[in-house]
Symmetry: C2
Subunit: 665 residues, 2 copies
């Protein structure tokens, strides 16, 4: 039965009174919905699913093995999976890769259905280490390293973060000094704070490391550059290389994180990954990018795939949690409620629906938003994107940062709620949440702390991705925005103009925010767009005001920081909803569209509801309408209730990955 | 410098412009503040602190030992701590206890600074098992069991929850049938769903179990009763007793949780814990409480101490997380912000303050709220309380349920935020969050699922703790409220009358909600009181409307469930703020009061801010004032900034319990 629910009356079936209203319930074709979710990359995703099922025992082994044994096991699984081609999709075919960046992201995301140590070690080896060689190195590096790293024959690590410096990479303390005599770089760790720390693969398996260090040539510092350094030979650290195990972690204990330090370690001049800068044998520094800040951010920018991958992994980990919790709620009964003879299914409780369904809807929304950013990544890095590559790259970096932040926070929140929704059973390791929760916890931190990432997003928005925005540190950003850019920002985010545009699009004219249907996607998008523009202009004004008052830019920034982050979040929320709406609109009329429309409405309205105070404060939501939104959400939850099982089945998480025999069996 | 900050102008020092305003900063006397926090029970709390430091190695052992070895280790520590008198404070002195219930709660709470397997095993042995013997048994049970359980010579477990039934205890499937011939009860587990499950101490150490089962005498069921059953002899399960290990859990792996089932296990007639009901040798059922529902709830009610203890443990676990995160933020620098030469301390970032300080303030608020409920527990169970013991017990049960729910959710949220605020370092087990997060996760579930507990709170409020409220299942509650009680509830929660009362108390008359100072505690309390009463009346009306429409009470309840839980939460939030305000008001003028006033204001305003949409929707908050609250919160954060280190030091978490050598050192 085709039911277009995109524009039903605002009250939907809410007032009819029964728990399960007698509205048309769209019938979900689970395989078709799976196909839609898998998108272009059905084939690689199914290969990963098959591999996950093949190695399902690793979920048990994570609990039963010693840390040492488990690390070896994870390494073995990684190498065996590499042999199926699954992990090398992103590398050029001439070196044994698959030559398809989009497919490599899809493979990685899908791997998040399984043990996450395997996922993260895969990310370290192929994404970070392999990605750095590929993106920052030249052909001779590719020839030397790619074939063996793609098969996992050579293992490597990505030594960027230091004990004292994580987010502020430009302030790293490791130094690489050029010795023209020997034509070598000398790597030295100055003090404990400059040790490389939390480095995956470093404690045990990596033979090579891509080390980020301050390049010093003839007494001049040129900023952070990357070097390939052999750190281990025959299983033992090389001379001058210190290695320490980071020890037990909250999760991901199949990954051997460790500390590295260098005591005058010498590497040949060609060890510098020299795509963007090089040192001549005589000791002359050369770079195609003159500005050191821009050079640095260009180098980092090539590594954006890591963020795209982690965001996708977080979203897929959330799917596993939701699959378990929804299936359990369709089986578990508690308290006699509608009948005196039989206890009620958990999922028939209004509160349980309220806890799980908005998270389910948001998972779909983020899935489609992730599809967009992964597609942009593919286009930019395959050279199939739009003309203005610089602009496209910056937008990609911003979008990757924002999607990673929202996707990983969503994972943390969803896994927690789903665990609680499964009660004490959710606490047993066999029921999956223990590993999901412990392993994903650090996703909000690695590949960029989420708050720092949202600041990056805000910086891009405030400077309109100005060509020189990469130059700007925090200081510079504040001064820039407060100075030259503020007018532009305020002009660009002119809320009055926006409102003019909106009233042409939406019913109700000037009253669009009171007249348009709550379930009209244009209304929902207009609300998020309004919030974004208003917040952004507000940040610009606040920064300017602080600077005009003669305050220290750092102090101004500190005070406005929560608004900065709020504006970035509002921007990304709008992108996420847009991706979902676009996806639904592109579908033919029919049950699949009807079902996804319900989810999209639920996501949009819960997003507005969560910040309804802001909308009221800024005159875009009346009290009456705000309450109507909350009622509508209750109604949508009841309408989604009969679809919930199918909606999680469409994620096609291999049953072996759910474990939880007593919860979902 | 004495500064009464309870009534400064609303804008405080917010507009002055520097990050650290030059307002008077109260000087905190850390030992004095510790004394205030420790309250009546300084001595026992310090004993526990000493014991924790003595056994500090257990925090490492939790990571390095096998699960089996760690379980033994935890048991040994428990027995050794028991020898110091720390764990037996709540038992009568004639059996070797301390005879002080309040002290026993204080000891338990403080134990939450350390390894939480030790805490939970202590709770199982002395609180649940020992508590059931003490509260549900008669003198002969006390004589037989208390002396040896207090020393830990005899270990026991509390076998209530079943695989198929957690929150709905009345529906348990285990049956105890009386055999008058043998004068024995025969315990039988009917089916897998009736297995006792997740039972702490059951998998390995318990020799005895208090088993909850449906009592059947001569073919008649009398509801759930408790029996002392020997389950293990010489380390092996007794005949007819099935035991299975629950296996690995997310955390608390030093506690041996397991499943138990009974195949015609016979216990003597005297094994029935018969304080409230007994079976004569001939097989006549007798009880001083005629109504079976009331009997059941009376029995359960005697076990309320467990909830009080878990709530306190959650709050104290949050203190450990905050101590680490605040100390780290006072040491770690990141990005050049106010100076080009030195990076900025994390705690000088506005966003970092916004993330941590409201949680710190709420921890103080919950600490004092917990002190109130623990005091009520002490009074009720020591017979030193008010005259109307029944009423006092019901209020205690409600308050214990509510504080447990808010305290444990607060722990989950705070530990997560603090972990993220410590970045990648927070992910290493040595830095404490791994265990804190994994071990506390189940606090929101055990001793009553938080949502179910809030429903219990709501039930009490809606029926005004009517003497027959214990009779009411969910069905009954809905019918009762919708029927007889609705008028009373609506009358009692008459918002207009409340407003009349308020306008006499607060400046501004009818305009109190626009005129009273944001930092006036009476204003803050009035807001929370208004919300509570309004929500409660709303629930009553909604229930009535549903019933009047002829809907199934269960369906009505399902639909109103989020309002029910919201009302309960609003009630408990008001109690928490009240406890904090009362504590501050009782202090003499001076720096301590000034400092706590800042925290209390921050807690009150962030509580209002979090639900400001509701206040706007219900006409109690203008847009202008709502924005002023958010600004004031920023200002309060900046004023608290210089106090933050002292505020966490006053928790007096033994340094050994913080571990985190690189974070807090």
């Amino acid at each position: 039965m085709a039911t277009d629910t995109a524009t039903p009356p605002a009250e939907g079936g809410a007032a009819s009174g029964s728990v399960r209203p007698q509205l048309d319930v769209p019938a979900i074709d689970v395989p078709a919905l799976k196909t839609l979710l898998d998108g272009k990359y059905v084939e690689i995703r199914d290969l990963v699913r098959t591999n996950l099922a093949e190695y399902a025992s690793i979920l048990d082994e994570a609990e039963t093995m010693t840390r040492d044994d488990f690390r070896e096991r994870v390494k073995d699984v990684l190498v065996e999976m590499a042999a199926t081609g699954q992990t090398g999709m992103g590398f050029p075919q001439e070196y044994g890769g698959g030559g398809d960046i989009g497919a490599s992201v899809a493979a990685f995301e899908t791997l998040a259905y399984g043990d996450l140590s395997v996922l993260v070690k895969t990310g370290v080896q192929f994404g970070l280490f392999g990605g750095a060689i590929l993106q920052l190195g030249s052909e001779h590096h590719h020839e030397a390293y790619l074939p063996d790293l793609i098969t996992g024959k050579v293992m490597g690590c990505f030594a960027m973060t230091e004990t004292g410096h994580g987010s502020n990479v430009q302030a790293l303390g490791t130094v690489a000094t050029y010795d023209p005599q020997a034509q070598e770089f000398v790597l030295t760790t100055h003090g404990e704070q400059a040790r490389k720390d939390y480095i995956g693969n470093a404690a045990r398996h990596a033979e090579l490391a891509v080390v980020f260090a301050q390049l010093e040539v003839a007494g001049t510092r040129h900023g952070v550059h990357a070097f390939v350094v052999r750190i281990r030979e025959g299983g033992r650290p090389c001379a001058g290389v210190g290695v320490e195990d980071d020890g037990a972690k909250m999760g991901l204990n199949g990954v051997d994180n460790g500390r590295l330090w260098f005591d005058g370690v010498r590497v040949p001049r060609t060890a510098l990954l020299n795509r963007f800068a090089d040192v001549t044998p005589e000791g002359t520094y050369e770079s195609s990018i003159e500005n050191p800040n821009r050079r640095f951010f260009t180098m980092l920018g090539t590594l954006v795939q890591g963020r795209v991958c982690v965001g996708g992994a977080g979203i897929n980990a959330a799917k596993v949690a939701l699959a378990v919790a929804v299936k359990y709620a369709l089986k578990r009964r508690q308290f006699e409620a509608t009948s005196e003879d039989e206890e009620e299914l958990l999922l028939d409780y209004g509160m349980h629906q309220r806890r799980l369904f908005p998270l389910l809807a948001r998972t779909y929304a983020l899935h489609f938003a992730q599809e967009v950013v992964a597609g942009q990544l593919h286009d930019v890095f395959s050279g199939t994107g739009p003309e203005d590559e610089d602009q496209a790259r910056r937008r990609l970096e911003s979008r990757a940062a924002g999607t990673k932040a929202l996707g990983t926070w969503h994972a943390t929140r969803t896994i927690q709620e789903c665990r609680e929704a499964c009660g004490g059973a959710g606490y047993l390791s066999v029921n999956r949440f223990a590993a999901l929760k412990a392993d994903t916890d650090v996703f909000t931190t690695f590949e960029g702390d989420n708050h720092v990432l949202l600041q990056l997003v805000a910086k891009g928005l405030l400077t309109d991705y100005a060509s020189d925005f990469e130059d700007l540190d925090q200081f510079g950003m504040v001064r820039f925005v407060a100075g030259m850019a503020v007018e532009t920002v305020i002009e660009r985010t002119n809320v009055h103009k926006l409102l003019e545009r909106l009233k042409d699009v939406l019913p109700g004219g000037d009253q669009w925010d009171q007249e348009a249907g709550l379930l009209d996607p244009d209304y929902q998008l207009a609300m998020l767009r309004f919030r974004e523009e208003h917040m952004l202009a507000g940040v610009a004004r606040r920064l300017k005001r602080g600077i005009d008052q003669g305050l220290n830019p750092g102090a101004v920034f500190s005070r406005v920081q929560d608004h900065v982050i709020g504006a970035a979040r509002a921007h990304v929320e709008r992108l996420v909803l847009e991706a979902f709406v676009d996806k639904v609109r592109a579908l033919p009329e029919g049950d699949q569209r009807a079902a996804l429309s319900l989810l999209c409405d639920l996501h949009a309205l819960t997003t507005i509801e969560a910040d309804r105070a802001w909308f009221m404060e800024h005159g875009r939501l009346t009290v009456v309408r705000s309450k109507a939104i909350s009622r509508e959400i209750g109604s949508l939850c009841r309408r989604i209730r009969p679809l919930a099982g199918d909606l999680v089945d469409a994620f096609a998480v291999p049953p072996e990955m759910l474990r939880s025999p007593d919860l979902v069996g």
